[in-house]
């Protein structure tokens, strides 16, 4: 909930926008408290990752494939869900502060100009947890509840 609030622009210069802001706030509140809870997205890493938290900037660099190694020199391995997966959309917007189409543009530019690689796409959240757990340097995300001894949830500041 905190994160969702953070992602809403704080400058409101038009009444229409304020209306939209309130609507979104209300919707977020309803969703957060309703039975079909869209829980806060969680950024997960393999237990070998050195840090306990990450800035939003670092998270963006990771998922735009511009941070090749962790502080302990282990290569960063990025896992993502398909572009149209609801968890991918939520994570991209609320944690990274980007729109899914922007991520796709950044990846495509790198893949098709030879200046970078694409993240590894997995089909389900379960597969995401498995892959991050078994890949040193692995990073990914889930909707909630990554219960695996080799996976750690990282706070995004």
């Amino acid at each position: 909930m905190d994160r969702r609030l953070n992602s809403v622009p704080t400058v409101n210069f038009a009444p229409a926008r304020t209306g939209r802001f309130l609507r979104r706030l209300l919707m977020g509140w309803v969703l957060a408290c309703g039975p079909f809870t869209l829980a806060a997205q969680e950024l997960i890493v393999n237990e070998a990752a050195p840090q306990q938290s990450m800035s939003r900037n670092e998270a963006r660099l990771c998922f735009t494939m511009r941070l090749p190694t962790w502080e302990n020199r282990i290569p960063v391995k990025v896992f993502v869900l398909p572009d149209d997966h609801p968890v991918h959309r939520q994570f991209t917007k609320s944690i990274l502060g980007l729109f899914p189409y922007q991520l796709r543009q950044v990846w495509d530019r790198q893949i098709f100009s030879g200046t970078g690689q694409a993240p590894i796409t997995v089909a389900t959240e379960q597969e995401m947890i498995e892959r991050v757990a078994t890949t040193p340097g692995g990073i990914g995300y889930v909707g909630s509840g990554a219960n695996h001894p080799q996976v750690r949830v990282l706070e995004v500041r």
Binding site: N57, P75, G97, Q102, I111
Partner: protein, 396 residues
């Protein structure tokens, strides 16, 4: 024998364990294929379009392999059929080693070596990758298809540096040089014919790109450019002498992306110098070409996008209506050959992660963007013409 029976599985196991960590696992292969159908009311564009053309096909396959986290090897083969301009012969689109010297959450810098796509404007680096383009055709007044190779890629060296900041955003700079890749479309575009000789790169072409992006990548502002010199090597019967053509192509770029819409605008200037051809076909002269476009994309749904664009391009900014340059040729080349004003409307549907289809309509005034190789008779083209196109794209 016993020992072998024990050690062999062990060796295989350890090989297997090694291969799980080996760099071949990080090999990535991607590709795409597209086919378009084009119909124009008049004038030939990507083939025999007045009679419906199927001559626009793009097939690409690339591979990338990190040797270690600091070095990435990458290459792409491209087969592109584009009317009379390109016949689909596979070429090396890029082939490079990207070496990162330093990277952190604050900055990254390094060098690229090999055949490198020129990072000009917003679209040039991936201009032949259909789903990275806003429409079937890029704005032709800036991303000319009649003379794409000159701006396409460079065999050389490119330094890059990026600085990341939580609040201020990303600044990036690319500087480099090398030899431009030139083909005979360039001679047709800059000399109006191939004149029985070869137009070749003369010395080193220089490239730069300076780019700013806000932290959440909503706003992008950039300036980029290329400085290219070419020398004409006359053949035995060539009417031209060994002249030179120098040009400086620069683009100012703007893009703002919201959740549902993206607004893009670019302005390009191109001073061109022709020297020493000693021919009435190509006297010594200095001309500055100028072009710009404004483009809006609206996402009705994440998989459905509307496109609207207006663009203008002029062969000579001091002769926008083309009257002077037409007079220079005694009226042989009509005035409307010196400008293009184009409205584009399009619809794109991303069916799934592999397939995309789209349709486009363009209303043209002027024929500046047409290839003289496809329209060799300067008296033939029509000033006002329409274009309809559909394209199917596959990617993996």
């Amino acid at each position: 024998m016993h020992r072998l029976a024990i050690t062999l599985p062990l060796i295989l196991c350890s090989l297997n364990a090694y291969s799980e960590e080996s760099f071949w696992d990080n090999l990535q292969v991607h590709g795409f294929a597209s086919q378009a159908v084009i119909k124009t009311s008049d004038n030939r564009f990507f083939g025999d379009s007045p009679d419906t053309s199927f001559d626009f096909t793009e097939i690409g396959i690339n591979a990338s392999l990190p040797v270690n986290p600091q070095i990435l090897l990458a290459g792409q083969l491209l087969a592109r059929r584009a009317g009379d301009m390109y016949d689909g012969t596979p070429t090396l689109d890029y082939g490079l080693a990207d070496m990162t010297f330093a990277s952190s959450a604050e900055q990254r810098w390094g060098v690229r070596l090999g055949r490198i796509k020129n990072s000009l404007g917003i679209y040039n680096e991936t201009r032949d990758v259909p789903f990275t383009r806003p429409g079937i055709f890029l704005p032709q007044v800036i991303y000319y298809d009649k003379v794409r190779n000159l701006m396409l890629s460079t065999d050389g060296l490119m330094f890059y540096g990026e600085s990341y900041h939580d609040d201020r955003g990303t600044l990036s700079l690319t500087l480099g040089g090398g030899q431009s890749v030139i083909d005979d479309n360039v001679a047709w575009a800059f000399l109006g014919n191939d004149f029985g000789g070869e137009l070749e790169p003369d010395g080193v072409a220089g490239l730069f790109r300076f780019w700013y992006t806000t932290p959440e990548e909503r706003l992008q502002l950039g300036v980029s450019g290329a400085l290219v010199s070419m020398q004409f090597e006359p053949g035995q019967y060539s009417p031209l002498s060994a002249g030179t053509t120098d040009l400086f192509f620069w683009i100012v770029s703007f893009q703002y992306g919201a959740e549902d819409w993206t607004l893009t605008a670019e302005y390009a200037g191109e001073p061109i110098k022709w020297r020493d051809y000693q021919s009435p076909f190509s006297p010594d002269r200095d001309v500055t070409a100028e072009s710009y476009y404004l483009q809006g994309a609206y996402r009705l749904r994440p998989d459905l996008q509307l496109l609207l664009r207006y663009e203008e391009g002029y062969a000579d900014r001091n002769d926008r209506d083309g009257v002077q340059s037409s007079a220079m040729t005694g009226g042989a080349i009509p005035p409307f050959n010196s400008f293009s004003k184009i409205w584009t409307a399009g619809l794109r549907w991303d069916i799934d992660q592999h397939w995309m289809v789209r349709a486009e309509y363009q209303r043209h005034q002027g024929t500046f963007i047409l290839s003289s190789k496809e329209n060799p008779d300067p008296g033939q083209p029509q000033a006002d013409w329409n274009l309809w196109a559909v394209q199917a794209v596959f990617r993996f």
